[in-house]
């Protein structure tokens, strides 16, 4: 198991070195955004399929797609900030030296992603939407904080990557939006491999050692984390900037809509399957 893991980490390091990028010359930033362009694939917009979306003109849908992309890039920044903190804390703590080598790449790449996301949000929207998550200190069982950290990273990145990949390939989108999604996806593909390997190792090691109460607590926490992660895609501030009325009621109805639930389930399915396989999720919870 350890040799296989070390081999995987070494391959990831080699791939990161090959694709090493300068974040300041990998993107050509247009002076301003094109109001006639899509910035998020319409099918990925949080209101897609509902009455509110159907009632919008095409220019209004495109305006919404711009602010949904600002929200998508903002939530990526807020997801990557604690990730960078957590990765930095874990440098040179593993008994496998190759892990720290890869964490250097992971940190470097996550920092570059924030340069891309922040660059778009600040240049074209003059804002990054606020993070509304709160974290309170608490006690953990041995290994629990470690497993939760990597499982949360994995959940967050797996969902994001589905969006990145679809939008990188969507020819309807403005080139700048496609480019940022592509650059993120290229690195995330490696981070996802690493994340799954680490979560599988940690769950195999710690789940048998924990009490049933701790195991159940971890499963419930991850289900709630999955829900909280998805909730960030439904941001009343983005709706307001797009000129939509009754933004809080709109957020609730968009979240509850059957087509939105089906979308979240479809996007999350590979991640849910992985979590269930490793006994980290209670059936029927998490969306």
């Amino acid at each position: 198991m350890t040799d296989k893991f070390k081999g995987t980490v070494q391959r990831l390091c080699e791939a990161s070195r090959k694709q090493f990028a300068n974040p300041y010359d990998t993107i050509e930033w247009p002076d301003k955004v094109d109001p006639d362009a899509w910035y998020m694939s319409p099918e990925l917009i949080s209101l897609y399929g509902g009455e509110a979306f159907a009632a919008l003109s095409e220019p209004a849908r495109k305006r919404l797609s711009f602010f949904e992309t600002v929200n998508f890039f903002s939530l990526n920044i807020h997801g990557e900030k604690p990730l960078v903190e957590g990765l930095a804390r874990r440098l040179y703590t593993s008994d496998i030296p190759e892990v720290s080598q890869y964490l250097h790449h992971f940190l470097d790449e996550e920092n570059k992603h924030m340069v891309y996301f922040g660059g778009f949000c600040q240049r074209y929207a003059n804002k990054v939407y606020a993070d509304k998550k709160l974290v309170f200190p608490r006690e953990y069982a041995a290994g629990e904080e470690e497993l939760l950290f990597f499982a949360k990273v994995m959940i967050f990145e797996e969902i994001v990557d589905v969006y990145n990949l679809r939008m990188a390939e969507d020819e309807r989108l403005a080139p700048i939006a496609r480019r940022i999604n592509l650059l993120h996806h290229r690195d995330e593909a490696r981070h996802l491999v690493f994340g799954r390997e680490v979560v599988a190792r940690l769950s195999g090691r710690y789940l048998p050692e924990w009490s049933e109460a701790t195991r159940q607590g971890v499963r419930e926490y991850l289900a709630q984390y999955l829900t909280a992660t998805w909730k960030e895609y439904y941001n009343p501030d983005a709706y307001q900037d797009a000129g939509l009325p009754n933004v809080y009621a709109l957020q609730r109805s968009a979240w509850d809509a059957p087509q939105a639930q089906a979308h979240r389930l479809a996007v999350s399915q590979p991640c849910l399957n992985f979590l269930r396989k490793h006994h980290l999720l209670v059936d029927g919870k998490g969306i």
Partner: protein, 84 residues
């Protein structure tokens, strides 16, 4: 802004429908929400949206101090303080 009684009722309804281990009868405005794990930190984001909607004001999460979500009375005092 909505009347105080209406805001308290909306907060209670939210806690009962999203929280664990409380009913309309057992939840009071002094029930510790986080300490008793009625709600978790991951649910606070949703509660913040409700408070924003009820108060008509955006909340700067970075400025919040520990204890503001201790119970419904604490939420009322911090976000609807002028009514008390």
């Amino acid at each position: 802004m909505k009347p105080e009684a209406e805001i308290r009722r909306a907060l209670r309804e939210w806690v009962v429908s999203h929280g664990r281990g409380v009913t309309e009868k057992t939840l009071s405005d002094e029930t510790p929400l986080l300490e008793r794990r009625v709600i978790t930190s991951l649910q606070i984001m949703d509660l913040i949206l409700l408070v924003e909607e009820l108060s008509g004001k955006r909340i700067d999460v970075q400025q919040l101090k520990p204890g503001v979500f201790h119970n419904i009375n604490a939420i009322m005092l911090r976000f609807f303080g002028e009514m008390n």
